[in-house]
């Protein structure tokens, strides 16, 4: 069954040819049928989604335009604040907490006529690459339920792949949108840092976190991107640049004639041969479509993983200090406040979150700051410089999204082995650049392979165009 496109649903609902209520009911029926097995959702918002759909239908009946997402169900990663609706980050420490405000992206989706259909599972506080670190149990890959969906936005990726929703929102700190998109065979895009407001995204590593879309097609991802992007005074890192509509960029997209595309040599090393084969096939396809494809070296990329696993835990240890049992979430009672903090945090956080808090606290502690965090920040500069040099010669860069296809549950119980899953996606987070993962062929196991297209800051149009060209050739 071919997935229904969000663009088509919205067009039909806006014209009154389809009711949003029917669209929502069809998706809720699929969720009821299969989410018991897959566990893409922490919470399905059946009543709220039906009510929102009826409001969209009522607007159409009054002759009003509900907006570009009219009646389209959207799966929200459960680290996006939803007013009055539980937002857990898949952590015991936030179980039952209901935020007093909506994230800016949640408001924008609703204002565009989109329907929040549920809160999706993730690795606790978005720390992981398999969704196995959720306190509420893992999500399963719709293509093979014995495999992980990737992570940390595994729930949103699986929800879109299983057609529980045509669109999903995730967050990407080191690959948490693109890697699960690759493993679940859907499109996932990380915008330029600052292009989408982070207001209401529960922070993991603030200088790296970015919200972005999941969809089954590049055009649908562009549709959602256009809705969520744009300046927001509530996020001080939000950029003021106005970008053209990406939906238009995709329409011209299959034309990559003359586009200069570089295959990043360093990101082709240590990658499974069946994944490398698909990336090479993608390069040939782009070349056949008129692009000028060549190899390029971005040498500092090889330090990305090490720098990331110092910077991200350091920022996480600072951001997660707020979970102390005082203002929200879990509290474990104790006779004095320090004991209350320490016992609450011990009971509320899972193993991976504790590990990263410990690593980050160590990297920031007296005597080690310069050697670890300080040095990692200087390496970040090297990575930015090497990308700058590459973008003098190329419009876009190409690489695998993930070193392998979806792996089995428990296959990467060693934390360092799991961290390696992000080796191709991390460099764009450190540089703040946009990147997309587009499904392109399958591996030897028959599971989806994702190919990544990266571009310079605010060059999302290039990312979407090249992504659309890849999709047309896939």
């Amino acid at each position: 069954m071919t997935a229904e496109r969000a663009i088509d649903i919205a067009a039909a609902v806006r014209k009154g040819e389809r009711s949003a209520r029917d669209v929502v009911d069809e998706h809720l029926a699929r969720i009821a049928e299969r989410d018991g097995e897959l566990h893409a959702f922490n919470l399905v918002l059946a009543d709220e989604a039906r009510a929102a759909a009826e409001a969209v239908d009522a607007a159409v009946a009054r002759g009003e335009d509900p907006g570009p997402l009219a009646g389209v169900p959207v799966a929200l990663k459960d680290n996006l604040c939803t007013r009055g609706i539980p937002t857990t980050c898949s952590s015991r420490i936030l179980e039952g907490w209901r935020p007093p405000y909506d994230a800016t992206v949640v408001e924008r989706v609703a204002a565009a006529g989109g329907i929040a259909i549920g809160k999706t599972n993730l690795d606790e506080f978005a720390m992981g690459s398999s969704t196995e670190n959720s306190a509420f149990g893992p999500t399963r890959n719709p293509h093979d339920p014995t495999r992980v969906p990737g992570g940390s936005s595994g729930g949103s990726a699986a929800a879109v792949a299983a057609q529980f929703a045509p669109l999903g929102l995730g967050s990407d700190t080191g690959g948490s949108i693109r890697q699960p998109a690759a493993l679940c065979g859907v499109v996932g895009m990380k915008p330029t840092y600052g292009a989408v407001s982070r207001y209401g995204l529960i922070a993991f590593a603030s200088s790296l976190d970015q919200i972005g879309p999941f969809a089954t097609t590049v055009a649908d991802a562009a549709l959602l991107y256009d809705v969520i992007a744009g300046h927001d005074p509530l996020d001080s890192t939000s950029v003021h640049d106005r970008l053209p509509p990406m939906v238009e960029a995709v329409r011209q997209g299959e034309d990559v004639d003359g586009m200069r595309i570089g295959i990043v040599r360093e990101l082709m090393e240590g990658i499974a041969p069946d994944v490398v084969a698909q990336v090479n096939r993608a390069a040939d396809a782009l070349s056949a479509a008129g692009a000028k494809v060549d190899e390029v070296s971005v040498p500092a990329c090889v330090y990305g993983l090490s720098a990331y696993y110092l910077i991200a835990p350091a920022e996480c240890s600072s951001n997660l200090a707020r979970y102390d049992g005082v203002r929200y979430g879990l509290r474990v009672d104790a006779p004095d406040i320090t004991a209350m903090y320490s016992s609450t945090r011990a009971a509320g956080f899972g193993a991976e979150v504790k590990r990263r808090i410990m690593l980050g606290t160590y990297a920031l502690s007296a005597g080690y700051y310069d050697a670890y965090y300080g040095k990692a920040q200087r390496v970040r500069t090297l990575i930015v410089r090497d990308f700058d040099a590459a973008y003098k010669r190329f419009d876009a860069l190409l690489s695998p999204t993930s070193p392998t296809t979806a792996f089995a549950f428990g296959a990467k119980s060693d934390p360092l082995a799991m961290y390696m899953s992000d080796v191709c996606t991390i460099p764009s987070n450190l540089s703040g650049h946009p990147a997309i993962s587009v499904p392109f062929g399958v591996g030897e196991d028959g599971l989806p392979v994702g190919v990544q297209v990266m571009a310079n800051a605010l060059q999302e149009a290039t990312v979407f165009r090249a992504g659309a060209a890849l999709e047309a050739q896939a």
């Binding site: 209901r98 200088s207 005082v326 879990l330 945090r345 504790k354 590990r355 200087r378 390496v379 090297l382």
Partner: protein, 99 residues
């Protein structure tokens, strides 16, 4: 060369306000060691003359207009607190003396 021992892990856990069991100390000692071992490639680089990047965007300080506007509702916020009294968060004893 081992750079981290159990005492380091206990010290860091205290700084992070995180109770750890003996089993966790043992587990984290090995795992933190492995990650820092991997980070040796970064540690070994001579980047003394490279400026640090804290943030991907060249941002100056950001101001907003100094106009009053509604914030989040106090009662709604306190309703989500583990314990509250008289419009405030309530916490266990902070100072050493008995209540």
């Amino acid at each position: 060369m081992s750079r981290i021992n159990g005492d380091d892990v206990r010290h860091v856990a205290r700084l992070a306000r995180l109770d750890v069991t003996d089993e966790e100390v043992e587990l984290f000692t090995g795992q933190l060691e492995a990650v820092l071992q991997h980070a040796q490639d970064v540690e070994a680089l001579d980047v003394a003359d490279v400026p640090p990047t804290a943030h991907p965007l060249p941002l100056a300080n950001v101001f907003r207009d100094d106009e009053p506007r509604p914030g989040v509702d106090r009662d709604e916020v306190l309703a989500m607190a583990p314990d509250a009294a008289d419009g405030r968060f309530r916490v266990p004893r902070i100072l050493g003396e008995a209540p």
